[in-house]
Symmetry: C2
Subunit: 643 residues, 2 copies
């Protein structure tokens, strides 16, 4: 029996760009920055959340998948017998996403004993389910073999293939094992023969098809990166450009939905003026288009990406970074249609937004993208997983009323062990498992810190730093340069978050060239190993006014501190105080106080409100939004009316 214990150091095949996380660039020249070659989070805020992910969330995955029937579906496909279990044709993707998460995790903190063996067990189940021609989707293998490739709008076949490919790439990149990669390559080759730009006669009749749910595009670019096979890059480009010509059905509900915009099939991405339709579909598509651009340097695609990102970030993003305002169709709303109560803001959409924005950050080198990544990570993403790592939120509203009525179902404002549509939990797992790779980047001339997390980060050009910080609770970040070119100047770049009005920096020598460049604070000098930079970001409590065009929160303020958005929850207020009947006194004193005993340790903000009934003051206590919904089922609000 082979030794399944993960190697203590990564042993995957190191390409020239070497990242052990997502996005191992093949064509760095098209990009301003490239991912860090190594990235480890070793302490602080995110290490704690990642530890829970590694020790609770990921290990409980296989049991959840067994209970929900996903693994039985794989066995049924392998045996050619049995019934399909689950509400959706894309049940397999939950398994694939879990495999991706566990694979990233194996490269880092292995988690409890046995995770590697569980990974190989599930890899074997997936491999055994594959048909001889490479096909693999249990819904069509087990339940509807007659309909294979005939329901592209709702069948999710290419979508599931995409998640399989991403899992396979992660598995290969972090463990060096080929079993799952071989499965993915076989399936991708089969898909290329049917849907690719150079189709065989078999595929000729189908070559116009695209999947109702984008996802395979970003995956195929990663498969190209991992294998070097150009045909996968070409297929990704082909599928991206085929979308937007009305090939899919007119929408999921002819009476009610916005038609082909639901799956972004209304306009080619290069011409689309704004993000629209189903948010996760839109954002996976855009992440894939960014991947394409990163490898090809396609200028018109880049222009569209920048335009669409500005449309999203400027008009369709919640304060929490959440996106996709509408329950109906899980979709982006109109510009500035951002209701706090009926915010959909699906956890998966926040993840997709982070994936896309990170690609844009590397492509352009601009800090705005990592500003949004930070806002999303600390708020609208992290709210999706409970502090115990074992319960989830599918939707992430910014307000729950005192008299909230519905507390059941996937979309209840209540943390839930699993969902009938379980897309979010393994998606959270894979982002947390790969999170170190979103912190830093490198270029020929230096290293850039996009996020502040205790750990060590190195570029593929010889730079390395160690970061120590109690961020986001404290604003001090200490960066030690562990390695830098001995013979020339080298630049350490620190992102100054857009929320930060004031900061100080102590560099090794007051003669150092320290300059602000966009959102970057750049320190350029000849470094000696061990030299340190201390950045202090002022963490004043902020009362944030909404854009006046966001009608739904007019006359309200939100409490923020550092990257954290705060909320009021009933549990923290005086007994009997209704959050629907209190207003913030805007000039009242605000106090930030760390409470190690509360919600895993949070800094709370206290201030004063006024009861609408009789005008009497009431103390108000706000907690970080990401930690909401852990106590009773009371009211919650991010946006608070001003007195």
């Amino acid at each position: 029996m082979p030794d399944l214990t993960p190697p203590s150091a990564p042993q995957g095949p190191q390409g020239p760009q070497g990242s052990q996380g997502p996005i191992r660039l093949r064509s760095p020249a098209h990009n301003a920055l490239r991912p860090a070659a190594t990235a480890r989070i070793t302490g602080g805020f995110w290490a704690a959340r990642r530890h829970t992910n590694a020790s609770v969330s990921i290990p409980q995955g296989p049991a959840r998948l067994e209970q929900a029937g996903n693994l039985a579906n794989l066995r049924a496909a392998a045996q050619g017998a049995g019934a399909f279990t689950g509400d959706f044709p894309f049940q397999d993707s939950d398994v694939h996403k879990w495999l991706e998460a566990a694979s990233w995790q194996l490269a880092d903190e292995p988690g409890p004993q046995g995770l590697a063996a569980e990974v190989e067990r599930l890899v074997s189940l997936v491999a055994a389910a594959q048909d001889p021609d490479g096909y693999l989707q249990t819904y069509y293998q087990v339940a509807r073999p007659d309909r294979r490739w005939s329901e592209l709008d709702w069948g999710h076949e290419l979508y599931c293939a995409g998640h399989l490919i991403q899992a396979a790439v992660a598995h290969h990149r972090t463990t060096g094992r080929r079993e799952l990669l071989d499965v993915a390559v076989r399936f991708a080759a089969h898909i290329d023969s049917l849907f690719g730009p150079d189709t065989t006669s078999e595929g000729a009749a189908k070559k116009h098809g695209i999947c109702g749910h984008p996802e395979i595009e970003t995956a195929l670019v990663e498969l190209y990166r991992e294998t070097g096979e150009r045909r996968f890059l070409d297929l990704a480009g082909h599928l991206t450009d085929r979308r937007g010509h009305g090939l899919l059905a007119q929408g999921i509900d002819r009476a009610r939905d916005p038609g082909p915009a639901y799956w972004q099939d209304h306009l080619p991405l290069r011409k689309a003026p704004t993000v629209t339709g189903h948010a996760v579909r839109q954002l996976y598509l855009l992440a894939g288009a960014a991947d394409l651009t990163m490898e090809t340097g396609d200028a018109t695609l880049r222009e569209a990406l920048e335009r669409l990102w500005h449309s999203m970030a400027g008009t369709k993003t919640y304060l929490t970074g959440g996106v996709g305002a509408r329950h109906e169709g899980e979709a982006f709303g109109e510009p500035f249609e951002l209701p706090p109560d009926r915010a959909y803001a699906e956890t998966c959409a926040a993840i997709a937004s982070v994936q896309w924005s990170w690609r844009m950050a590397l492509l352009t080198g601009e800090t705005r993208y990592s500003d949004l990544v930070e806002r999303t990570l600390y708020n609208g993403f992290l709210s999706g997983v409970a502090l115990d790592g074992d319960r989830w939120l599918y939707v992430n509203p910014l307000q729950v009323r005192d008299d909230h009525e519905i507390r059941t179902g996937d979309q209840a404002p209540r943390r839930t062990p699993w969902f009938s549509c379980a897309c979010c939990p393994p998606n959270v797992m894979r982002l947390l498992a790969s999170l170190p790779h979103y912190v830093a980047s490198g270029d020929a001339d230096g290293l850039q810190l996009h996020q502040y997390a205790t750990g060590s980060y190195a570029t593929d050009t010889g730079g390395a730093v160690t970061v120590g910080t109690d961020y986001p609770w404290k604003g001090r970040v200490t960066v030690t340069v562990d390695a830098a070119p001995a013979d020339r100047d080298w630049t350490l770049s620190l992102r100054i978050p857009s929320w930060c009005a004031e900061f100080t920096v102590a560099a090794p020598d007051r003669q150092d060239r320290t300059e602000a460049d966009g959102g970057w604070l750049r320190i350029r000098r000849r470094w000696l190993p061990g030299e340190r930079v201390v950045l202090d970001l002022a963490l004043d409590v902020r009362l944030t006014e909404p854009d006046p065009r966001v009608d739904a929160v007019r006359g309200c303020l939100a409490i923020e501190r550092g990257p954290l958005v705060y909320c009021l929850e009933s549990a923290d207020q005086p007994v009997g105080l209704r959050l629907d009947a209190v207003a913030l006194i805007t000039d009242a004193r605000t106090v930030a106080e760390h409470r190690p005993d509360l919600l895993g340790g949070v800094t709370v903000v206290t201030t004063t409100g006024r009861r609408r009934s009789d005008g009497t003051p009431a103390p108000l206590t706000a907690v970080p939004y990401y930690a909401w919904a852990h106590r009773d089922e009371g009211a919650m609000r991010v946006w608070i009316p001003r007195s």
Copy 2:
């Protein structure tokens, strides 16, 4: 060939309570009031809209139904051959609702030549489609005979039967013809044998079933009223009380919807704390429960109805009277969840609200119900049909942004000739056709005017009045008593709308006992025929503040005048003014001016706003909300930020 010209005077069988409209009470003793025996709108605002309904909307119905395939479905069922056309199993209900509308119309203003013949043609089509056992729903007859009565959650079989019954009652009540009534009685008897309290052995297995869409309950009570057959009243009660015990599926989408509350199967109506779930389903159920209470005097049902009505009117109703805030599930939202932009406020829900409230008005004699009827009729209902009577709105939002994106589909903010789900148009037709019967009521001691519409109204106890008014443009209402008991005092009651802060009344004699009683102005005296009362309601422009608990419109004001809610539309503002970037100057002068040339003749309100960009003033012109969406596709808003 029989003479199909409608009789110039009603010839239907006159029961003791005699109304030629909906709700011919059999047990008036349980009710504070009873419908007028005769009711005719002969001039003014509603006469114009009803004329368009009679001369355009209703006559074009059969062609629309032919084009959409509804009539072909009936022929296919009759012939036992052919395909089913349409997206929904309830296509037949569009035909039934049209027949009901046309039947009410025939009692009143016959409309263009040939309407009566068209009615008889469609009646024959419906009758021919009926199976020998009484069954009639073409979807299950033509497309899915194997599934009859097996998909009660989504099949709409009892729902369609309900609309058939209502059409049959209207047809019989206004024309005296029995063809359709016989069809309905046969179907209802068949249903009673399967679902009734005393089921045959055939029905035993099915007797626990209820329909996913309430509607048959109110219809069965009317069938009881029309035929005197007690079993139909009992069946209505039985079906009402069976609901709320989780008999239906867990919701239409297990992953996402609120479960059985969608179809009000989560709690028995008698125990429900609030209106919830699909709005039309909820309101048809409540209208039926009100019908039951009106005939049985059931005290606990009445208590529940009053509680639920207060929950709706006080916490879940838009300023326009629209109800059902959510697109997702076409459902009521939480209390005070009333977004203006994503307001669903389906036209059908407004109609159902009027139907229910009118029953409550008769049951209780309280004016609050007719206050809401008035608000709904003039605003959230009337917006559903275009001024030309030939285009429709399915949803009735209170805001459309300048950069609104989606302009297609049933739910676009754009008047549309017909819908793939065409529930609303014939529903509008039937309410407008029967509208005179919502104006007045009677009791042993007098006549009550609930609405102000030029016309003549008589009780079944010998009272009769003629009303003349230019309402809602002018506040003067002249009521002439044409008949009243010669030998005793008799009371003319005039509803003083809750919006009205000031009024004067000129009664025939200053000694008359004129007293305010709740919202009623009661004038009690010995009347001589021809004596007149002149009521003057002050129609000042009002700037209405929202309830502070409605988060979505905080910091805004709405313009109202009389019963009309106003809105700003781009078309009436200075060129280039964006409605998203202007605020109302609250102390600016407002001017109301009648513009006979505009939108069929409307009183506009002009005032002044302030541009957010540079603070400069801008003239603003508001038009009645019901008339919106008749010019360009610009922005619209009811709630306007205050400067």
